[in-house]
Structures are given as C-alpha cells and as structure tokens.
Amino acid sequence: MRNNKQPQEDPIRLDDLFQLKRQEKPDQQFWEEFDVQLQQKMLGSMVDRRNLLDRFRQFTLRKILPLSLAGSALAALVVSLSPLWKPVHSDKPNTDVEVAALSQPSNTEIESVDFHEATLSATQVNFDSLPEFSSLELSVDASLNAVYETNGLVASSDSLLTGIAEQLF
C-alpha cells in the first residue's frame, strides 16, 4: 500500500506553489555578473554590427563595383556595336537592285535563299507558296541599301529582314 496515512486537513494548493515559485530569485552577486556579461554582449554586438557594415562596404567596393563597372562597359560596347552585326558582307559589291520572284512548289524543301544570286532586279519572297520548313537562311547585302519595292510596299533591307523574320516566327 502506497500510503496509509490520512491526508492533511488543509493540503497545499497550487497557489501556494506559485507563491513559492515567486520566491526563486537570484542574489545580488548574480546581478553583478549579469551586468558585466551584458555589457560585454552589447559591446560585442555593436562591434559585430560595425564589422558587418565594414565587410559589406569592402565587399561592395572590391567585388560588386568592379563587376558592375565591367558589366556596364560590356553593355555599352554591345549597344555601340550592335548595328554592325546585322549585315552580311559579300565580296562582290552589287549596287543593282535585283528582283527575284521566288515561288517554290509546296513539296520542295528550301534550305537557303541567297539574294545575291538572284537574277532578277528585286527579290520577292512569296510566303504563301512556301512549304513548311525547319530553317531558312536569308541574307541581304548591306550594299543593297537601296529601296526595295515589293507589292507596292517600299522597304529597306533592314525592314525587309524584319518582316521576313516576323512571318517565319
């Protein structure tokens, strides 16, 4: 049997235990040590914060700034050179405007069209008659900076290429 004795008439209540718990308090020496430790922690946190800011500043100066400068320079170079990339130069300058009527049967596979080898005074691509194809290479000589006239539309070589690309894709 666990306990044969009668319980106390006035047993301890939970509130008595809470009251006991409220008496668990550190002594003065504890607070003196606490103050010293807290001071060190606060100083440490302030120094850490300052170091973090310094490290961030140094990282920015050493890594990010040169990278961003190099990136900007590269971007500027790309922008300045981009007009030169469009034309494809040929050995034989051809100032004549050639018109070529290109109409292929739908079952013919077209691999490439060289506008320079066209025999007519202008090159005209009839998109309706073109079959489905996987790739099409088109090149227009930069020297053909003349005005193309196709189906009543006046277009430069650039806009002609753009139009072709839009039709294709």
Partner: protein, 232 residues
Amino acid sequence: MNAQVLYQAATTSFTPVDTTDNSGGILQGQSLQSEDSPDSQLIEHVKAGHANAFNTLVNRYRERVFSVVYNMTSNREDANDVTQDVFVKAFQNIHRFKGNSAFFTWLYRIAVNTAISFIKKNRNRQYFSLENLQEDGISGKIAEILSSRKHSRRDILLRELQEKLNEALQKLSVKHRTTVVLFEIEGLSHKEIGQILKCSEGTVRSRLHYAKNELQNYMEDYLRQGFDGYNE
C-alpha cells in the same frame, strides 16, 4: 583593446565613456535622466543616441525579464543568457518601438519569443538548474508546514517542492507554460498577456484553465503523499 575602448570605437555618437569608472552599469556616461524618469523619456534618450539611458531600463526590468525566462526554462544559466540576449535585441531594435504599447509589454514580447526560440532549439537538452528560494518571502500554508520542520528537513522539503513544481511546469506545452508563468508568477492581467502573446483574452483564460488543471493533476499525487511522508 579593452571593452571600453571598443565601445567608444563602435559608437562615436554615444555619450562619452568614463573609462576610469568601473562601478557603472552597462553603458556608463553622464546621466541625462534620473532613475525615476518614465520609460518613454528614457526610450527617447536611447533613440537619440544616449545609450546610458538604456542602462536605467535594464536595471528597471532585468529581474522581471529574468523571472519570465527562468520560469519558462527552469534553468538559471540558460535564463541568464537568454535575458542578456533579450536586452541586446531590445537595444538593437529600440528604434522600432513606436510606443503603441507599454515598453514592458514590448520587452516581455521579446523575452517570451526569445525564450520560446531557445526552448525549441534546445528541446532535447533539458535539465534543471534552480534558483535559491528566499525563505523569508514564503508565507501561507507552506510557511506553516516549514515552521514545524527541523531546519535540515525544511531545506530538503523546499528543494523537493521546487523541483516538483518545475518538473510539472516543464510538462506543459510552451504556450500553456508561458501563460501560467505570466499570469500566476508575473501577475500580469489577461489583457496584457493577450497583447504579449498576440491572442485574445478568451484564449488566455482558456489556456490558463487547461494549464492549471494539468498542473493540478501532475502535482496531486506528490502533494498527497509527499507531505504526509514529511509529517513528524
């Protein structure tokens, strides 16, 4: 480089530090406010860069913050560390305190959140390290029982009671434990606890009711047999 010099290097905008005086608190300097200054005034001083004003706030609230954390963790060393972290966090974030609630509510919230994070992080590492009981503050039924005991037995009984209560508290979930600690030990109102825990007063009451029932169940057997066993 000593701590004072580090402090000066780190905080050029703060009040100059008297390096010859080691008797001060956390952040010494010429005091711009008295110990009786209201919290709001001290906080404004801290925000303005007078870090020594924070020292007054620490002295004012350190025991209450420690008590909350200690009663949640039941470990004085952990409570010591966590309490220090609470004040460091409060100092670092004091610019975020807008005065919408009382400063101690804001501080308690930091304390409770920091303690909960600590408890969750150290869930598997749990051992008691209890504070000394100040016997002269004990009254009521326990004081009566103690007075009838011999001195040696009294100490054993008190220690055992202390351990059992802390053990029972640790069996509660963190949210129930926190609610009991804030209400029964810290003496906060339901409304204040609701603000700290960001829940309604009804939820606080409900948690309290449940937690006290649980504690009663945990302690019942011990209280019935333990005190009988100590009867002389």
